[in-house]
């Protein structure tokens, strides 16, 4: 458990953690040893010579004072280490999450990661603050007391000692038998959390089907599964808890019976037997609390395992000796990329000379957006290479690569904050004037003027308070501010209202000027601005050339735009 904790934490916390555990152990041993002084005290008090008790009582008082000092120190240390680790853990997790490949972030991850980062992490870190001290004391104090008993009376001591292996065996067995149930339960929790988020986000559409509450079967089934799993966990834990209690109680009964027998036989003094029974009662209580603490520890352990799994997921490897690309031409060299069991890009080769614009056109699912993601190294290719300025993107450090690329996504995700913060993301160090200039160039200034609060207006979760076109403008301003030599553009698919459309096109035009551009295009008007066009289907380049040249060829590309022409009304530009 502690080993796992230390691994998850990383080496920098190991020493503090070890020191705390050592302190807790010493405290528990001192507690157990201090009880040895009860034997002479009680012998005097019960044996009819109470005045003999005072010196021993004074010694016991001194031992208690020492214990109190240790206990106070170790309690404080536990809490302090706990919060320090919590902070370290959050940072480790946050930084790690940001480095994991985009491919790792599937549909279920939002629920999983949010549970992990909030409750999970706290529970895992609570180990040291709340659970470790009681656990160590519940284990070490009884053992010390048994040693003390053994020193005074070997028969009763041996009887008490019999508990040790049984308790240890039961603890180990319970841990194993509940691990499966815990894991299963966690799976169900995760599933349910994902369903709840889905249920909330899909409310409008669910209501059309009248699928709310219990009528949304997917959610209700997930909730029922959670209940079933929690029932199974109880069933898995109960035998261990009952077994532990049964053992401890049986041993206590045995000590009681044996003590009564020894006292009746006259072999051992009544006062000694009674003292040992008092000590035995002191053993039983902490041992009985073990099953409770054990359950909580297992819960924390399960969270640790999950944290460990996430932290051990490899981010895309960073080059050992990063190369800085000197030019900004782009190249796909026989690239194959598989994702989710499907070959998305299939042996594709393409070149974009520095300063040129390539438009990528093709039906949905052709792999257009993936092409942009590979350039930005959101994933690594399965075969072939993606090169920037002749350098494989895997040879470039993430930071250097990202510094050279500005991306305008199709779905603009804005962080819940002000417009200014979202624009500034492009270049946090930019001056006030540069931010304003980028906003003006993206025609974001018009939006800002209209919004109550202006620059300080909040955009809402995911940018929900802005319209699609307005979000696009923010994202273009962001990219303009970044001023990177390579621009990747995933053209917004929704039709914007005319005002927004004009603004967005204007902004994009400014963004593309003088840069190497790859754009996924859905409109003929956009394509016409490109130097070359690549028509993609099934992850391959089917046709490549200038727009007019391809139209003239009358192939797939020409056919693609013909659908548009066949629509009622004029074809879109």
């Amino acid at each position: 458990m502690i080993r796992m904790l230390l691994r998850v934490l990383g080496p920098e916390y190991a020493r503090a953690m070890r020191r705390t555990v050592a302190l807790m152990t010493i405290t528990a041993v001192v507690e157990g040893l201090s009880y040895a002084l009860l034997v002479p005290v009680l012998a005097a008090l019960l044996g009819g010579s109470p005045s003999d008790a005072w010196p021993w009582l004074a010694a016991f008082g001194a031992a208690v004072a020492a214990y109190a000092g240790l206990r106070y120190t170790s309690d404080l240390a536990g809490m302090r280490v706990g919060t320090t680790m919590l902070r370290g853990m959050y940072h480790r997790l946050g930084e790690h999450l940001a480095r994991l490949p985009i491919g790792w972030y599937g549909a279920g991850r939002v629920g999983e990661v949010s549970v992990l980062a909030s409750r999970g992490l706290l529970q895992a870190m609570g180990v040291s603050a709340h659970l470790l001290a009681p656990f160590v004391s519940a284990l070490v104090t009884p053992v010390t007391i048994v040693v003390v008993i053994l020193a005074f009376n070997w028969q009763l001591g041996l009887a008490a000692l019999a508990a040790a292996p049984v308790v240890a065996a039961i603890q180990a067995w319970t841990a194993r038998s509940t691990a499966a149930a815990d894991a299963d339960r966690h799976e169900r929790d995760k599933e349910a959390a994902g369903r709840v988020i889905e249920y909330l986000q899909a409310q409008p559409v669910l209501r059309t089907g009248g699928r709310t509450g219990e009528r949304f079967e997917a959610l209700d089934a997930a909730l029922r599964e959670v209940q079933g799993a929690s029932r199974r966990t109880v069933l898995a834990t109960l035998p261990g808890a009952v077994g532990l209690t049964l053992t401890v109680q049986a041993i206590f009964t045995a000590v009681l019976v044996l003590g009564a027998y020894l006292a009746l036989g006259g072999g051992v003094g009544a006062a000694e037997v009674l003292t040992i029974l008092v000590l035995a009662a002191r053993c039983a209580d902490p041992l009985l609390s073990l099953s409770d603490i054990g359950g909580k520890l297992r819960g924390a352990r399960a969270e640790l395992v999950r944290l460990d799994a996430v932290l051990r997921t490899e981010p895309l490897p960073e080059p050992a000796e990063p190369v800085l690309p000197e030019r900004h031409d782009l190249e796909f060299d026989a690239v194959t990329f598989r994702h989710g069991g499907r070959t998305v890009i299939d042996g594709l080769s393409l070149k974009v000379p520095q300063g040129q614009r390539l438009a990528v056109v093709g039906p949905s699912g052709a792999g257009k957006s993936t092409l942009l993601q590979l350039l930005a190294r959101f994933h690594d290719v399965d075969a072939g290479a993606v090169r920037l300025g002749g350098v494989d993107v895997r040879e470039v450090s993430t930071e250097a690569l990202m510094a050279r690329i500005a991306i305008v996504f199709q779905d603009v995700y804005l962080f819940d904050g002000t417009i200014e913060e979202n624009v500034r993301l492009g270049r946090p160090g930019a001056s006030e004037a540069e931010v304003r200039a980028a906003a003006t160039a993206a025609r974001l200034d018009e939006v800002i003027e209209r919004l109550p609060g202006g620059w300080a207006a909040h955009v809402g979760e995911g940018g929900a308070l802005l319209s699609g076109g307005e979000r696009q403008r923010v994202s273009i301003a962001r990219a303009l501010l970044k001023d990177a030599p390579v621009v990747l553009l995933d053209e917004v698919t929704s039709a914007l209202d005319p005002v927004n459309e004009a603004a967005v096109h204007e902004g994009i035009e400014r963004l593309m000027a003088g840069r190497t551009v790859v754009m996924v295009a859905h409109r003929m008007r956009t394509v016409q601005r490109a130097d070359r066009v690549a028509f993609l289907d099934g992850g391959r380049v089917v046709e490549e050339g200038g727009h007019d040249e391809l139209l003239g060829r009358g192939g797939r590309y020409a056919a693609f735009w013909e659908i548009a022409a066949a629509l009622p009304g004029p074809a879109r530009g």
Binding site: T83, D189, Q249, L274, A281, D416, L425, E461, E509
Partner: protein
Amino acid sequence: MTITGLARESERPEPLLRPHAGSFAAVVLLQVVGAVAGLAPLLAVAELGRVLLSPGPVDSGHVWFVVFAGAAGLFVRLLFTAASSGLGHVLDGRVQLTLRRRLAERLGRVPIGWFSRRRTGELAKVVGEDVAAVHPFIAHAPGELVSAFVVPLVSLVYLFTVDWRLTLITLIPVVLAIALVPLLMLPARTREQEEYDAAMGRIANSVVELVQGIAVVKAFGGAERAHRRFLTAADDFVATFNRWVRGMSAVAAGMQVALSPPFVLLVVLTGGAALIASGSIAPADLLPFLLLGLGLTAPVAALGHGFDDLQAAGRAVARIRDVLGVPPLPEPARPVVPQVHRVELRDVRFGYEDGREVLRGVDLVLEPGTVTAVVGPSGSGKSTLVRLLPRFFDPAHGAVLLGGADLRDIGSRELYRRVSFVFQDVRLLRASVADNIALAVPEAAHEDVVRAARLAGIHERVLELPRGYDTVLGEEAELSGGEAQRISIARALLADAPVLVLDEATAFADPQTEQAVRRALAGTAGGRTVLVIAHRLETVADADTVVMLEDGVIVERGSPAELLASGGRFAAFWQANRTGPHPAGPHPAGPDLVGPGLIGQGDEPA
């Protein structure tokens, strides 16, 4: 004060939990019997002491009876506490399910508009974690409360019967610890507690954001920049947590020392030695205090940590209650079933916040079998207007009528059977493609689903998926944005509702999707009433009526040709946007904004 505070906390969840009161009482009762029986072995040791230390010959029969009674007590304790714990956990599972169902049911009935002001992360936390936080209340509270209050009380009564002076001495550590309790309950502590919860909520939100915005983080972030918000939230939380712990820890550690067994034993032994030495009590009477005296500290010890959980549960229940307390969109007592599908808006006013009206008195009639196009600049209220039809919101003033009946008088099932919509934010469920398309019509036949998919131009793509229509989206396959939009169009086509509300912006992922929308719009021959937010001139040209919205009021309405010819606001609006600045150099030659047949379309002025 602390005890009443506790009682208040524990009472809170009750109304929510009332249906389970019977089982809960059984859990408590079993726990009481078990815990009190657990005192038997300790009493047996005390009794043994009396027998063994009494002068004269030892009654061995009595000794063995006492030993047997102690062992029997242990067995009863085992049986009853195990039963109580098992039952408690089962009950807990049931209560959690009930609460989550109630929450889901309520969230399914609150106005959609309510969601726009809430964060998904926070709400999901209420349904997930906050409900889970009642676990200690149901599964552990009976045991904790019984061992914290019932057992000490029984012990205390027994000890008083043995010797009242030593009983009072035994209570000294408890009094010491209680003296420290107020320090844990200072207003500052309560405030820190609330800050702690708030900080936790911020972490949940920032994580949702980090994960959903990961692409942006990657593109702009490097490792340390863009996920700063998460780290800030985390630091914030740790700082709050630290403050909370720092405020508590010294006091809590002090309490722990005062309540620790060695300290209690020291006090009892010192007092006992004095009393025995002065001959006030028999030596054997010291034993019950050594054995039971430790138990007297339980209530205060529990206050120190065990009730953290209960207090957290109390706060969680308060949040659950808040959500359950949100008034749902009222359902009519006597639902009206509209017979015709004429939609009418009468002097409709609406605003998201007080004092800022988005719609300022809109009158509009949509005749069956016609297409009405809404146009207007950004922020004119178009999106709000169309969202009133599927009753995402109720108007603040005026009424929306369907077939002469106020929407508020139509049952929601009935309403959604009649009004379907395709809006901007497409949400696919993690379910099969077929289920996603048949969302509004779960009983639809497979061939109908396929027909809708064909019309929406997504059928071929679906067949390419690993398991065709049975492919679970989000698990076995991901769809692109355009494909998702076509699924949502297929949804609306399958629903085949007599009233269709459409935000055209959704529709133009690619030519195929646009074609699908055109087909949907064309299907109005059967008398469908269509309201569309139009962005394309061709859509406007095909509409029967155009409504020009500006700043929440209708400034012009009429047939497209008539409006364009009259040279009013609408004409100016289109003209302005058509010739808007295009520094891209020569405007692409596409005939995209001038509908050649528009004027000559022959729509007679009404």
